[in-house]
């Protein structure tokens, strides 16, 4: 097994052993120092034993590194029962020679000291255990119990120092747990011997809710995150949230993804940017969840995965309500494209929510995340904390190119004003609001901001129909913007006016046609009268001509008969 996998830049510095603990390997750039001891300290109940046990179990199951668990406080049976709740089957690991468990009993007051002693008995037991399973990992939980069970702290200190040197010589990676002392990391100064890596666990209670935190106090020869990281103990082990400040070096995708409402996409000039964060804010009952459901359903429809964090309603309630407006979410859930995670905000403190959400996101690997509503989360933390958590959450999703859709409930009096300035974290901000006029309440939607895209400045009215949300044209005529019944009335009025104008036009067209018809009839009549007259006149002209010819002929004949001077014969008319 290659321990330095995914850790190439650190290879020169130090070989590391992956713990397999969710998130921990990220903050330590690859796990614990290999072949060296690590001190895990913390107060009672801070999760030291669980951390140590998970280190061994993951080693045995995921990295083929068998381990030895030396317990000074709990018996094998107690341990097996305690960690079975985390899904660790120690019984099985022991049976397969992947894990060796040794309970070292050191009951106080049982032993009398008479002269010098050493801890060779413990060394022999350890050596035998390591050899039996070929262990690469060893846990000592909690070594300090020796101080209670054995006399002479001076000898014990010397022997513990020798023990760590012995374990180093064996080449095993060691996790030693230690109880936290007042004002010091450990009660008996174990940090003196284990100086390569020190991890501190903490379980603080604030406002009746416990927060577990983890901090890498020191890590010799390695870069590591120095902050306190919240962690959860869950059904399948420990989960550390590795993010605190991710920086702003994520890529920005130019790809657009549909919002689920084509007309909203048009308003945004083609949809949301992939990997952006979107806030749909509005007062109660303005359709925030419906908008979120449209977005989720559209994502699933493209074959993408959507993770839906619901902080107010159960998934059944959401699915039922959305069905009423024609959005079917259940099939997507059955196909595994949609996953709901419902939890009341008060169950955890804010940071724990972040850990939980981080874990869910890492597991489900969604393209799209819906958080409905974010305002419920905001109420459980102080503003600076809220901002920091939200920043981390958004950075986390941006790093993975996840498009995040937040809804936020706003008080009517504080529209366009968000607590802790969430707005600066959001790329697109859609406002949903109701517009009360003339005794009506209508829903309106507008894009308050949208980074990096030209977007519509219109307030659009929308309706909840059986086919989901429907954006309408808002009436923006000469009489100003109108919504609801007013808009309908105005539209009806305009329709009537238009109808009138149309009828008038048609009437005039008909009149024109009629006039043309009349005129043409007259022209026809005149023409036929004229033709008749022309005909008779021409006939008269022809008659007159033929009569003149006859007269000329007759005059010539008479002259010839009278034998009168022969005049020049008249030229006959042609």
């Amino acid at each position: 097994m290659n321990h330095t996998e995914g850790n190439k830049q650190d290879r020169k510095q130090l070989a590391k052993s992956l713990t397999g603990i969710h998130g921990f390997d990220e903050i330590t750039n690859g796990g614990l120092p290999q072949g060296r001891p690590t001190l895990v300290c913390g107060s009672a109940g801070s999760g030291k034993t669980l951390f140590a046990m998970e280190f061994l179990v993951r080693g045995a199951t995921d990295y083929n590194e068998p381990g030895v668990f030396v317990s000074f406080e709990e018996t094998e049976e107690e341990l097996k029962t305690n960690v079975s709740s985390l899904g660790f089957d120690l019984e099985d690991l022991v049976a397969r020679n992947k894990l060796f468990m040794d309970y070292v009993s050191t009951e106080p007051g049982e032993v009398e000291q008479a002269g010098e002693f050493d801890l060779d008995g413990l060394f022999i037991r350890l050596g035998d255990a390591i050899d039996t399973v070929g262990a690469k990992r060893v846990v000592l939980d909690t070594l300090e119990a020796l101080f209670a069970g054995l006399p002479n702290p001076i000898i014990l200190r010397a022997e513990i120092g020798r023990l760590f040197r012995y374990l180093k010589s064996k080449g095993v990676t060691v996790v030693a747990t230690a109880e936290q002392g007042a004002g010091s990391l450990t009660r008996h100064g174990l940090e003196e011997y284990v100086s390569d890596c020190v991890v501190q666990l903490d379980n603080r209670v604030t406002e009746q809710t416990a927060i577990r935190r983890l901090r890498v106090v020191k890590y010799r020869g390695s870069r590591h995150g120095t902050n306190e990281y919240p962690f959860l103990v869950e059904q399948n082990g420990i989960s550390v949230l590795p993010i605190t400040s991710m920086g702003l070096d994520y890529e920005a995708s130019p790809e657009r993804i549909p919002s689920g409402l084509p007309r909203l996409d048009t308003m945004l000039g083609g949809g949301f940017y992939r990997g952006s964060s979107i806030l749909a804010a509005g007062t109660a009952g303005t359709g925030k969840t419906s908008l979120a459901a449209h977005f989720a359903a559209a994502a699933c429809g493209r074959g993408e995965r959507c993770l839906y964090f619901a902080f107010e309603e159960s998934k059944w309630q959401i699915m039922r309500n959305m069905r009423s407006i024609g959005i079917e979410l259940a099939p997507w859930e059955q196909q595994g494209l949609l996953r709901f995670h419902n939890v009341r905000p008060s169950v955890y403190v804010l940071e724990m929510h972040l850990v939980m959400m981080h874990k869910q996101i890492k597991e489900f690997k969604p393209e799209v995340v819906v958080i409905d509503p974010i305002s419920n989360l905001l109420s459980i933390g102080r503003p600076p904390e809220v901002k920091s958590v939200l920043t981390r959450l958004i950075d986390l999703m941006k790093m993975d190119g996840i498009t995040a859709f937040f809804t936020s409930l706003l008080a009517a009096a504080r529209l366009e004003e968000t607590e802790v300035g969430i707005s600066s974290l959001m790329d697109t901000w859609i406002m949903l609001r109701d517009m009360e006029t003339n005794g009506e309440r209508n829903r309106g939607l507008y894009v308050l901001k949208s980074r990096g895209m030209a977007h519509s400045n219109q307030v659009r009215e929308f309706l909840m129909t059986g086919n989901g949300m429907e954006l309408l044209d808002i009436y923006t005529g000469p009489e100003g913007a109108k919504t609801g019944a007013l808009r309908a009335a105005q539209e009806a009025k305009e329709r009537a006016q238009a109808l009138d104008r149309e009828q008038e036009k048609q009437r005039m067209q008909r009149e024109l046609a009629r006039e043309r018809q009349t005129l043409e009839a007259k022209i026809l009549l005149l023409r036929s009268e004229f033709e008749a007259r022309e005909d008779s006149l021409e006939r008269a002209i022809a008659e007159a001509q033929s009569r003149a010819d006859v007269l000329a002929m007759e005059r010539l004949e008479i002259a010839r008969l009278r034998k009168a001077d022969e005049p020049d014969p008249p030229t006959p008319k042609p």
């Binding site: 009398e112 060779d120 022999i124």
Partner: protein
């Protein structure tokens, strides 16, 4: 305090022939000869030869002297150079006569 008729079965756990192991055996022999002559037996167990026994008998420090009999089981650790402590450990001397060990915790 203790019944003089009791027979003592003692086990001394060591790891090889170390100086402490040899000293412990010598000291034990001397004490037993002085206090328990004729009613004791000593079994020396070398854990290097049988490491599993360390786990079975819950041995951590070495050398360890275990009083198997008479019951109850008692343990004394060290090279047994402090005779008074050995006697207290074996309950041959009442605890009140000596200052008892107190854990610093």
């Amino acid at each position: 305090m203790c019944d003089p008729d009791d027979y003592f079965i003692l086990r001394l756990y060591v790891a090889g022939q170390t100086a402490k192991a040899i000293a412990a055996f010598d000291n034990l022999k001397t004490i037993c000869e002085a206090e328990l002559k004729g009613r004791y037996e000593i079994e020396v167990i070398d854990l290097l030869e049988n490491p599993k026994l360390a786990r079975e008998d819950q041995i951590v420090a070495l050398p360890t002297l275990v009083r198997k009999l008479p019951a109850p089981l008692r343990k004394v650790i060290g090279d047994l150079s402090d005779v008074e402590r050995v006697l207290i450990g074996l309950q041959l001397l009442p605890r009140s006569k000596a200052e008892t060990f107190r854990s610093p915790i």
